[in-house]
Amino acid sequence: MSERLLSLRELTVGYPMPRTRLAGPRPWFTAVDAVDLEIDAGRAVGLVGESGCGKSTLARAILALVEVQSGSIDWRGQPVRRGDEAALRRMRREIQVVFQDPVGSLDPRMSIGESVAEALEALEGRQDGATARGRVASVLTEVGLDPTLAGRYPHQLSGGQCQRAAIARALVGRPKLLICDEAVSALDVSVQAQIVNLLADLRRRHGLALLFISHNLAVVRHLCDEVAVLYRGRIVERASSASIFAAPRHPYTRALLAAVPEPDPAIRARSAAPELRAAVATESVAGVGCAYRPRCPLADADCRAEAPRLEDGGSGHLTACHRARAGTPAGLTR
């Protein structure tokens, strides 16, 4: 029975928006809306959604980089709060992050060796020169980089190499959970494949847990055991990877699957079944009811009246949809 590493309960995170009126309450944008999520040791959880759905905000909340409005974050049984420095320090040794922009996530004025060494020092305290160099060299090798590249600067390396360096920096402290925030989205497809394989290898070797955030379902499928689908800050479907790809239940999940660009014109059905075509999103949805309603081909009066809750439709497959039903979307019938 693996340890429950991360537990999010009713997590809500928002941002204040610029004022439109001098008086009255400040407008507020809720990026993450009452999210529940668990990650166990060694498991890879995929978090899927489009831009603006709150997945990056969720990652930052977990890392205690932003304020949380309500709900709780528990790390290995202990609550995580922004003010509690000691607890945060402990947590930071065990959760690390890799960002989307490989070059931008490294300080342009520091060599990659220095960046990794800085991480080592921050997480484990001052090391003597030789030990530090040794650790840096070994983690660089582990991510597939020649240790002699340690003196190079980010602008001298390719995107793939920079991302490997970023992964090395995240791994040097031997974390238990690695959060990948669109970590492969900015890479060429062959490099993406290399990095995905690297992450899978590292998982196997170190029993690393992953929170893999992406809008690309095909990649998520390759890496993750479980998938949670996020729409406008709410989890609309959550299930094991096998279950969600074999039989997605929420219309949004099916739309996402249908939109995955398949590299095969014979398969590509430009005329996918109308119910799966994502309609154009309109502006923010006010009021009660399902947030996906404006885009949903299945929406009815119930959907307008009441927001659906996440319910178990059988064997741990959770869906938040009044009209949910199991079925095979057109995109997967081959």
């Binding site: 489009e50 831009s51 603006g52 390719s158 995107g159 793939g160 190499q161 060429d188 497809v189 062959s190 490099v191 993406q192 494949a193 290399q194 995905v196 394989n197 899978a200 809008h215 690309n216 379902l217 095909a218 990649v219 499928r221 390759h222 990877s241 790809f245 739309a255 996402l256 699957l257 249908a258 939109a259 995955v260 660009p261 398949e262 590299p263 095969d264 014109p265 014979a266 398969i267 590509r268 430009r270 994502a278 154009v280 999103a281 995109g331 997967l332 081959r334």
Partner: protein
């Protein structure tokens, strides 16, 4: 307008033709060659996808044809549109072609859209600046193109500003801007790379519909999935050269060049088993400053032969496609 979609070769009346084009940049550390002797054609009403990864030169190829190279860049060779030469010092003639008969769409729609002007105004200006129509007609045309790119509520969009739209909507407006002058060729440089998958599909649909109505499209991208959604023919570039050109269906069904095959194999597919490793390509592309000896892909190629390291393979016709690969030649019975 004779369409040559999907056919092996475009024929003598290709709309857009590039012959032996090379692009070089003078940098403080010496010359860097981004494009090496590329030749290709695009027929009327067809979509040619030019596929390659970072550093393959695919963007520089078209930027050179449109005179948009960064400082220090120089192009040699020939690029013609409807018989008219695009390269060379005659700026005025080139400018008259660009934006009327040839249009370009970039990865970041904000390259085309001005943040402080309403969309309707920007669209209309495209036509008005070139003296193509009067204000009334320009407004009508603006509505038309917004509808053509499937932007709902076209009327009220005209009054909106770019920052009020999402990324996908902005990209569609950028395409609409390109369509204002009824161009014959649209060059789209990574139009979907910055967008979410659901929106990518919509943007590609819009481009495909424009192609169906007779527009020739040059789609520059590294995303094979996107290519599959629209391309009639595909040209694959590696290290500044074309390594394969083939009709789309044939390329996907049976890639001839090992790089093409490896590229296709790297794409994670929903119908593959999730437990399989993704087939990446070992190593890295050569640095653009270095002229490799022999085939540029040889160090990474699973089908490499001795000849590959010594003689650079030339692009050769084999039925319906062109391939630059010794291994392929041998497999076709042409000897080494």
């Amino acid at each position: 307008m004779r369409s040559t979609r999907g056919s092996a070769e475009v024929g003598p009346d290709a709309l857009f033709e590039v012959r032996d084009l090379s692009v070089r940049f003078a940098t403080p550390r010496g010359d860097v060659t981004a494009v090496r002797g590329v030749s290709l054609e695009i027929g009327r009403g067809e979509c040619l996808a030019v596929v390659g990864e970072s550093g393959s030169g695919k963007s520089q190829l078209f930027l050179a044809c449109l005179g948009l190279l960064a400082a220090g860049g120089a192009a040699e060779g020939s690029a013609t549109f409807d018989g008219r030469q695009l390269l060379g010092p005659d700026d005025a003639k080139r400018r008259s072609l660009l934006g009327t008969r040839v249009a370009m769409v970039f990865q970041d729609p904000m390259n085309a859209l001005t943040p402080h002007l309403a969309i309707g105004r920007q669209l209309a200006e495209v036509a008005l600046d070139r003296g193509l129509m009067d204000a009334e007609a320009a407004r009508a045309r603006s509505l038309d193109v917004l509808q053509a790119v499937r932007l709902p509520d076209a009327g009220s969009r005209l009054r909106q500003y770019p920052h009020e739209l999402s990324g996908g909507q902005r990209q569609r407006v950028a395409i609409a801007m390109a369509l204002m002058t009824r161009p014959e060729l649209l060059i789209a440089d990574e139009p979907t790379t910055a967008l979410d998958v659901t929106v990518q599909a919509q943007v590609i649909e819009v481009l495909a519909e424009a192609r169906d109505r007779g527009l020739a499209v040059a789609l520059v991208t590294h995303d094979m999935g996107v290519v599959a959604g629209i391309a009639d023919r595909v040209a694959v570039m590696y290290a500044g050269r074309i390594v394969e050109v083939a009709p789309a269906r044939d390329l996907f069904a049976a890639p001839a060049h090992p790089y093409t095959a490896a590229l296709l194999a790297s794409v994670p597919r929903l119908d593959a088993s999730p437990a399989e490793r993704l087939a990446g390509i070992e190593g890295q592309p050569p640095s653009p400053g270095v002229e490799p000896e022999g085939c540029a892909f040889a160090p990474r190629c699973p089908a490499v032969l001795e000849a590959c390291r010594r003689h650079r393979p030339l692009l050769e016709r084999f039925d319906d496609r062109s391939v630059a690969c010794h291994a392929h030649r041998r497999s076709q019975g042409h000897g080494s």
